[in-house]
Amino acid sequence: MKSLLLIFVPLLGSALAVAWPRERTRPLLLPIFGGAHTLLAFWMLFDPPPLAPNGWFGFDPLARAVLPAVSLLFLGCAVYGVSYLRIRSERPNRVFVASLLLILSLLSAGHQARHLGLLWITTEAATLATVPLLHFNGTPRAFEATWKYLLIGGTGIALSLLGSFCLGYASFYGGGSGDLTFAALVAQGAGLSRPWVLIAWVLVLVGYGTKMGLAPMHTWKPDAYGEAPGIVGAILAGGVTTVAFTAILRVRAVVEAAGEGGVASTTMLAIGLFSMLIAALLLLATRDFKRMLAYSSVEHMGILVIGAALGRVGVWAALFHVWSNSLTKGSLFLSAGNIRRAAGARTIDEVCGMSAITPRSAALFVAGMFAVTACPPFAPFFSELRVLRAAFETGHAITAAVFLGGLLFAFFGLTRLVFAIVDGRPRVTAKSAGILVRETRGVILPPLILLGLALWLGLATPQVLQDAWTAASEQLFPAQ
């Protein structure tokens, strides 16, 4: 019952946003419903509700381990959104606010979906709901980015549907009763038709991997993140990608039960390492700091998938990394949005000396950069260390070496860009624009708090979260 509230509360907010008559007060719905959602999610984190064994939706251990992070990120973005939409008051915000709350509802549904078809429908709907957000700026480039997002994302969606059909056929061929909940599929286990399971796995990995933005299916990401407002980028990078990751985890558990876990791990390792390497190379080449965030996101998706390939310990580390990624990405995207607005440009050829124009955002941006490149004591350092340890424990020394190399090059790429933007003497044109953009509390506090949470998560990982991650990794890899 409570798990359905997580879906219906933001849905109600979305409907209310559509009906709300006043432009000025409508953005307030974001923090109100986002806050209610976060309260609910954390209440359920501390006091998990009983789970119906064959329910289609449920706050199961995996949802419990991931969804509160998404909720927290959304709340941060929601608070920021109030100030952001006030600054951008020249654009109507009805669709924007309604879509954001709709996405929260669909993300809650997607994380809790325990049925193959339902999982696909919710993740697909979440993709569609992000479309109006992407072209909020209304520029031709924004429309171009939206078009690419639809075309590539749509193909990914289609492939994951085909993969879901194949998994359904694997169950059907193996004499299944037509019950396509994940619990039933796992229970059927070795009874599933193996060739179909393998075909399904490849399609699902490519399909949902497109949504996560794993290389080489990442090409929509820099365009979309570059053109969309920072708040949308944060929700895409920390929330929408997470739901695709949990989808992959759920299907992987079925593949494991069917006895093909080895193949699943190998493919995930390969695609994860490839994503990290490609992201590191692109980070070294790009000159645009919003596209930089997209490549950094590709890198972190690679880390998640590598973690998930390394057995139970690795999944634990990956779930930890979901939290660190959501919180740090939120802070980084929001502070980058502040800098972008003040500078009026996005490449290091046009922007420099932002520490003089927007000192607070620049400081946050630098701190966020250190967090995201896994400098201690922020949470990503500890979660990536766990992934690394899992790699050594399971005897994947080469993986660990490539992983470290990827991290190192990403660090070079990110520091190069960030300091080029922050350091130096501000340009005159940028300076005159900067006077107009005041760094109000509304646009500084949300990224600051998200970053503070990332710090706290690293220094003192709460026991309840550790328990939640343990429960989720046991759900995905049950003891033999």
Binding site: H115, L116, G117, L118, W120, I121, E124, A125, L128, V131, H135, G138, T139, P140, R141, F143, T146, W147, L150, L151, G154, T155, I157, A158, L161, L162, S164, F165, C166, G168, Y169, F172, Y173, G176, G178, L180, S193, P195, W196, G344, A345
Partner: protein, 213 residues
């Protein structure tokens, strides 16, 4: 029963090749619409008895794929003032040859896949694979947005065809195929919005480009 089904799927496979070989956008749109209608009728032949739910599904599919989407596409085509696909990445003859090869490969590789006896003699899986492959050729090989949407529709028709294998066991998944159709609807709306934007806000956008360059 099985002959009628195979005939319809075979027809859809032929339409794949027609879509690949044609350079005029109106005829590609017509081909895709016909294919959508042919496949939309398929569920009616799969049921031994008349079933209201299946009939409704077929009606919806035929009307969306055969009429609604083609109308939207034609409107977008007219407002953008394009009639032909010019200079595609993959030429018409090469893409036709690729499509033919893909169809042959789909038919021959199906023997390697484990299929239930009731599906082994049908063209469901080869038809699905061939359509998916055709869709990809169009998506990758064409430059005009409308041709790419047509490619996406053919890809989606292939997946829909595959979903027919599960129609008796999981109606929910088939329903989700319909939702995929909605994607296409939004897709198309996206283009139209884009065109309208360019038509009405041209002055504004030019100014924005100047600021960015």
């Amino acid at each position: 029963m099985s002959e009628a089904v195979n005939f319809l799927i075979g027809l859809a496979m032929g339409l794949n090749l027609l879509a690949l070989g044609s350079g005029r956008l109106p005829s590609v749109i017509r081909t895709v619409a016909t294919q959508g209608m042919v496949l939309g009728l398929l569920p009616l032949f799969l049921e031994s008895r008349f079933n209201w739910f299946v009939a409704l599904l077929a009606f919806l599919t035929v009307s969306v794929k055969g009429f609604v989407i083609p109308t939207l596409l034609r409107r977008a085509m007219r407002s953008a003032n394009i009639e032909r696909e010019i200079e595609p990445f993959i030429g018409f003859v090469p893409s036709l040859l690729l499509g033919a090869l893909g169809t042959i490969a789909a038919i021959s590789c199906v023997r390697a896949l484990p299929l239930l006896p009731e599906h082994a003699g049908t063209l469901f899986v080869p038809g699905a694979l061939a359509s998916i492959f055709t869709g990809f050729i169009l998506l990758v090989g064409r430059v005009k947005a409308i041709s790419q949407v047509c490619g996406y529709l053919i890809l989606e028709n292939g997946i829909y065809l595959f979903g027919m294998l599960l129609i008796h066991s999981t109606p929910l998944l088939v329903e989700s195929g319909i939702l995929l159709d909605l994607t296409v609807g939004i897709f198309v709306i996206g283009i139209i919005v884009d065109r309208i934007q360019r038509a009405f806000d041209s002055l504004d956008t030019r100014k924005l480009t100047v600021l960015r360059e």
